[in-house]
């Protein structure tokens, strides 16, 4: 039995248990405790002021917007919001941690005991949702960046850039409710969607403002007690998260199968080898000496403030998807696709309202518009296509004023440059050929020039009709409405049947 066979066999004996810790950067103009701007991609130390540098004598002052964002995140994930929470110092030495401690929340976080629902259907329609518990959400500041690039720093030095030091984060800790790498992925995608919906985080993994650590353990199927867990650090893409969890589960299976015990440890994932390795063992765990930050008094706000923010919460994806099904009669799949982002859902509804019928709008959006956006590498809210323009374009197709083919060709341009579809159709000469005489002439020509195929059709080969239709479309440069072409062609072919 090869190692991989062994793993497969052994894997079936164990259940994988995963809890995730997500760090999401809050969308603010300034840092959590200092008025320095939050920037991305600036040169080293171009976005710092005395607080970020931990100069002697500086003091932290809390950013009100960051607090609102954290409360919104808690509300959107069904957490209990604590109107009194406490900032604590987490003490450790590292060059990118300028104060020698990180200001975080420890004993008294701002939100606890929430949940989110994730799809567990792998894309199939009508499958169930699974509820994943959230242990807590707390606020903390980010560290700076250490640059270990030999080319810049030399082989015996590390560079330190504090632009990111002090950027506001929430850490969102899940319960160990996830049971596969795929579920972990679904959880992250759902969480990202929620944070984007409520506009508190860009939640962009590539830019490092949505980061994930995973706690992974195995237990024999049917056993209630959890096994020993390891912590996977710094998983910085969705693909990585799932691959790393799978690799760590494989490693633990091998350890258990060979009669060993999993040791509590912090692990790193090596993507090129698709393996995990130990960074440090539990014995070497740090003593962070948390204590309440004496420079900050407890964070206190009123219930009314929480309710004001709750009232501001937008409808979230799961509720919106359900409403789309009920209100517009969409399929579960379409409804979920259209509610995947807040801007897409809003675009859909605005277009549907102007057009009057939801289903064709859903089809156009999910097929042509999303495809064009992908090709242009744009998001819907970066597009210049207005809902009114899309509604008008679809209506022109409905009314036979242009063809679906012609309309499709205009979508990328409308996304890129905007404009009025009626004007564009006219300018480009994309009006459907509706003149009965022109169409009849084209049909007659095609019949005359394709005698052999006409015979085959009349001989019962129905599919030849498609070829003949194609010929007519080509002759009319795609501007004939396919329905009319088919109708006329079928009529003429039967008319002239001897």
């Amino acid at each position: 039995m090869s190692a991989s066979d062994l793993s497969k066999y052994e894997t079936s004996k164990y259940e994988i248990v995963i809890g995730l810790e997500v760090h999401a950067q809050l969308r603010t103009e300034s840092k959590l405790f200092s008025p320095a701007p939050v920037t991305y991609g600036a040169k080293p130390n171009h976005s710092v002021e005395p607080v970020c540098l931990a100069l002697p004598g500086v003091l932290p002052v809390l950013n009100a917007r960051a607090v609102e964002c954290a409360i919104l995140a808690g509300l959107a994930t069904h957490c209990t919001i604590h109107t009194r929470s406490v900032f604590a110092r987490k003490n450790y030495f590292y060059p990118d941690l300028p104060k020698g401690y990180q200001i975080s929340q420890y004993e008294f976080p701002i939100a606890t005991d929430g949940w989110i629902e994730i799809p567990v259907d792998d894309g199939e329609a009508n499958a169930a949702a699974k509820r994943i518990g959230l242990t807590r959400i707390h606020m903390e500041e980010d560290a700076g960046k250490s640059i270990h690039d030999d080319a810049i720093a030399g082989s015996d030095a590390t560079l330190v850039d504090l632009n990111r030091a002090g950027v506001p984060l929430v850490e969102i800790v899940s319960e160990p409710d996830l049971r596969s790498a795929a579920e972990a992925g679904a959880y992250l995608r759902t969480l990202r969607s929620i944070l984007r919906y409520i506009d508190v985080s860009d939640a962009d993994m590539e830019k490092g403002n949505f980061r994930c650590d995973a706690n992974v353990s195995l237990r024999p199927r049917g056993q209630e007690a959890f096994g020993t867990r390891t912590e996977l650090k710094n998983l910085n893409s969705f693909r990585f998260v799932e691959a790393a969890i799978a690799a760590e589960a494989r490693r633990q299976v091998e350890v258990l199968a060979s009669g060993g015990e999993v040791q509590q440890a912090t692990m790193a994932y090596d993507a090129s080898a698709d393996r995990t390795r130990v960074l440090r063992l539990k014995e070497d765990a740090h003593d962070y000496r948390y204590f309440p930050d004496p420079d900050l008094i407890p964070l206190v706000f009123s219930r009314e403030e929480v309710e004001r923010l709750r009232a501001e919460l937008p409808e979230l994806a799961d509720r919106k998807s359900m409403r789309f099904r009920e209100q517009y009669g969409l399929s579960e799949y379409d409804a979920r696709q259209l509610s995947a982002s807040r801007s897409l859902g809003e675009f859909f509804e605005a277009t549907a309202e102007r057009h009057g019928a939801a289903k064709p709008v859903a089809n156009w959006l999910l097929r042509d518009v999303l495809q064009a956006l992908r090709e242009l590498e744009l998001e819907i809210d970066e597009s210049r296509l207005a809902p009114a323009a899309l509604a008008s374009l679809i209506r022109m197709v409905d009314e036979g004023k242009t063809t679906a083919n012609s309309a499709q060709t205009l979508v990328p341009e409308l996304i890129r440059d905007g404009g009025d579809p009626e004007v564009l159709v006219r300018e480009r000469g994309l009006e459907a050929v509706s003149d009965a005489g022109v169409l009849a002439a084209a049909v007659d020509e095609v019949i005359a020039e394709n005698a052999e195929n006409v015979e085959r059709y009349r001989g019962g080969e129905a599919k030849v009709l498609n070829f003949l239709m194609g010929q007519v479309m080509r002759r009319t440069k795609g501007k004939a409405a396919p329905g009319s072409v088919r109708e006329l062609l079928v009529a003429r072919l039967s008319d002239e049947r001897p």
Partner: protein, 101 residues
């Protein structure tokens, strides 16, 4: 009985990023033991159920509006640094295992 041992002093010094000579560590163990002995008087007090005071003033933390001000001149940011390249601080190479984050 010793309240703090030489080994503990060495451990705590390491946690504080201080290196103590043997003589310093022994001296410090004696001093701290003496101080901790004095501190033990607190044990006489029953503090069951008493709220800890972190601040003498009963206030709520003030907040500032989320408005950014331009950072300080990057040259000034590194002006006090013992070592810098361009506008980045330079430290000796971080060896794996030193990562505390």
């Amino acid at each position: 009985m010793a309240r703090i041992t030489l080994a503990e002093v060495h451990d705590v010094a390491k946690l504080s990023r201080l290196s103590l000579s043997d003589a310093e560590a022994e001296r410090m163990t004696t001093d701290l033991d003496h101080i901790l002995e004095y501190v033990e008087t607190l044990r006489e007090l029953d503090t069951e159920g008493i709220e800890p005071t972190a601040h003498a003033i009963p206030l709520e933390t003030p907040m500032r509006e989320d408005r950014a001000v331009p950072g300080i001149d990057p040259e000034l940011a590194v002006a006090n640094a013992p070592a810098s390249i361009a506008t980045a601080f330079v430290v000796p190479k971080v060896i794996e295992g030193e990562d505390e984050g």
